[in-house]
Symmetry: C2
Subunit: 419 residues, 2 copies
């Protein structure tokens, strides 16, 4: 058996997932604590590895083969390391997500149905540049009793290997933990194999640019949790407060323009009184304004904002339900009726009233951490925290009950909720 | 524009879904009531159409082109019609599944996050013979504010058309209801197109035999809710009560052998004292027993039961986690520790202790109705009721908050749960 063959890695992961599913909170939290301690004590070893990656990456930036923003995301510094470590501690402090009784129902006397949260099984994580993703996703997977196979970008290969080595050493200190909860693979062939592996991998989470996510969504039958595009909208209603509108638009566009929750298209009610003034002030804030139909489909990820005048709230809703990527869209208005109509009719993961689209984030929502933001219409939508890494099973505990008795009328279901 | 072109039907469905998403409970329940009344008053018209299908089908049965069991499922009688009508009334009486506030959290003063249940969007339903599926699925889809495109089997084409005509007439009486909530398509080409239509169809639910479900799962990127196999297990532990074991096995195997929740493999602890007697009594109950490794993968859907002796509870769990289709598996034991270990370690949608596997059913679980049983590891697992046809969105209501203030430390999140 070739141990590096992806199929074997995936099979092994599936086997390990059966053991991981029943780990106690104590053991999982102990492992998370060891992970945090190990990263803390091995930071120089990791920075050393990161330096190697950065050297190669800077050559690639010079040659134009790597963008400056990818280079920045690749770079680990003391701040990022501190956040990585704190992130693991925060995750270990979250409530236990597994084994929760979500429903408890008496079907009949002595016949008790329970719906209990459990892990999904094996997660495949494919991510680009940011090596801090490893510790975050590994911690989330461990906390939710899932097994994870990670594939990082080749730009970060030395950093990723170093972090993984530190994590593995930390986990090996916890005897009760099965080996192989977190595995890393490295090649493009591994990714191709992962996408085919629907027998052993239950969920794929891509973390990276549009083209990576699109490629994955189009090339696998395994459920994919994530989003390709982030075409977010803000609609300035006729009754919008001028200053709220200005502040929210500037924050949504400029606070971090390459984020997926940054606004890309501004819709303005034709009767909003100070539209020209608003547009002027946005330009003064360094935002380039564009008004052409080709823009409605575009994610600029830059200080560029498409804008359009619309006749009504309904027209804004229609535009958004046509062009939005279903990520996050907001209305700015002082009219409660307009706001309510917008919140109920816009079909996006996040629908906002008088707030910046940049709030669409697991930490800001108070989830403690996130695996990403989903624009799916099934399983999990919006910022996905631990809950998105769980599913449930039904247990039924009886004392010999058979269905025949309920079909022939000898017995009747009581269907009484106990919880 | 060719109106019968599937792509146009799907596009239309997506448009209609935006209107359907915001329908009030009253309007939906009024429509369900009209559906029930119309089926009641038009039963002769439907029986007439069903007769046509039955005539053709009986010729096919004679030629061996259609199985007797499919013929039986095709046949509508007064009992099935009564159940169809009552089913719609029951669904209209279920609690409103849309617009529920699943989470309400203050992120900061005046910045309120809500997680609100909403419809998935457009459902594609592909089903075989049973024409009663139309009314059940249409009612569930309507109650959950989803739009549905149905494709029934060609054996039932006359019945399906008649039922759909009656439903359409009923729905047209409710003015507030958008047109096109329920559409029917008829050809294999339509199915092929449906499977490709991931832009407009959000979820596919196949209702039918293994080969249909397998084909669909293998030929679409749209999420599929359902199960292909139903390879269910019962494990008789060494401390099992003899009579409980006998009754549960007979019920699980013979109460309705072609059901997906019927048991296919019996595992017996080697130290269970009365194994030979048990096997003899199962034979006397008309069950054919088989003990060969090729059987572990097979769904017989008949009074045939594979059996195997195992050394321990752990060996039973391993066998089940290897060969089970993840549908429903049970343990028969008087030993609480064995039962608990089994319930936590078996990774199936339903895990039972001292109860028949035949209980795995939405009605028996008290869900009121079901769209099917899922063996998926994401979104919905086990019997799926209305909740499986919903997802959620996050609304955020503020008064001008921007992210910059929370990043630079001017403001701090409070993250207080209100609900």
């Amino acid at each position: 058996m070739d141990e590096n063959n992806f199929l074997n890695i995936a099979k092994k992961a599936k086997e390990v997932s059966k053991k991981t599913a029943v780990l106690s909170s104590d053991i999982k939290n102990k492992a998370l604590s060891e992970m945090a301690k190990a990263l803390d004590s091995k930071r120089d070893f990791i920075f050393e590895a990161n330096k190697k990656d950065l050297q190669e990456a800077s050559l690639m930036v010079e040659k134009g083969e790597l963008s400056q923003s990818l280079y920045n995301r690749l770079k680990l510094d003391e701040n990022k390391m501190r956040d990585m470590i704190q992130g693991i501690i925060d995750i270990s402090n979250l409530p236990e997500p597994i084994g929760k009784t979500l429903l408890k129902r008496e079907l009949d006397e002595g016949l008790i149905l329970k719906k209990i949260s459990c892990p999904i099984g094996v997660l495949g994580i494919i991510f680009e540049a940011r090596p801090d993703v490893i510790s975050q996703i590994s911690a989330l997977a461990l906390k939710s009793s899932n097994v994870v196979i990670l594939k990082g970008g080749r730009e970060a290969v030395n950093t990723n290997k170093a972090i993984m080595e530190v994590i593995h050493t930390a986990l090996s200190k916890v005897d009760e933990l099965p080996e192989g909860i977190i595995t890393q693979v490295f090649t493009r062939d591994d990714v191709a194999e992962m996408l085919k592996c629907d027998k052993y991998i239950d969920l794929i989470i891509p973390r990276g640019g549009n083209s990576l996510v699109k490629f994955i969504k189009e090339n696998t039958k395994i459920p994919v949790l994530g989003h390709a595009d982030g075409i977010c909208h803000l609609f300035v209603d006729k009754s919008a407060d001028f200053n709220k509108a200005l502040n929210i638009i500037i924050d949504s566009k400029t606070q971090y323009p390459s984020a997926c929750n940054s606004v890309e298209t501004l819709l303005i009610h034709k009767d909003f009184p100070n539209a020209e003034d608003l547009l002027e002030k946005l330009k003064s804030a360094g935002i380039k304004l564009i008004s052409e139909p080709e823009s409605w489909h575009k994610e600029y990820s830059d200080k560029i904002l498409a804008y359009k005048f619309v006749d009504s709230v309904e027209a804004a809703i229609d535009h958004i339900n046509t062009y939005s990527s279903g990520h996050t869209d907001g209305i700015i208005t002082e009219d409660k009726a307009s706001a309510d109509r917008f919140l109920s009719a816009v079909d996006s993961a996040g629908v906002y009233h008088n707030a910046s689209t940049r709030f669409a984030d697991g930490f800001r929502y108070g989830f403690g951490a996130e695996v990403g933001i989903s624009t799916n219409k099934t399983h999990a939508r919006g910022p996905v925290g631990l809950e998105g890494l769980t599913i449930y099973k039904y247990t039924l505990e009886g004392c010999g009950q058979i269905v025949k008795d309920y079909v022939d009328g000898t017995k009747k279901f009581t269907h009484k909720d106990i919880l």
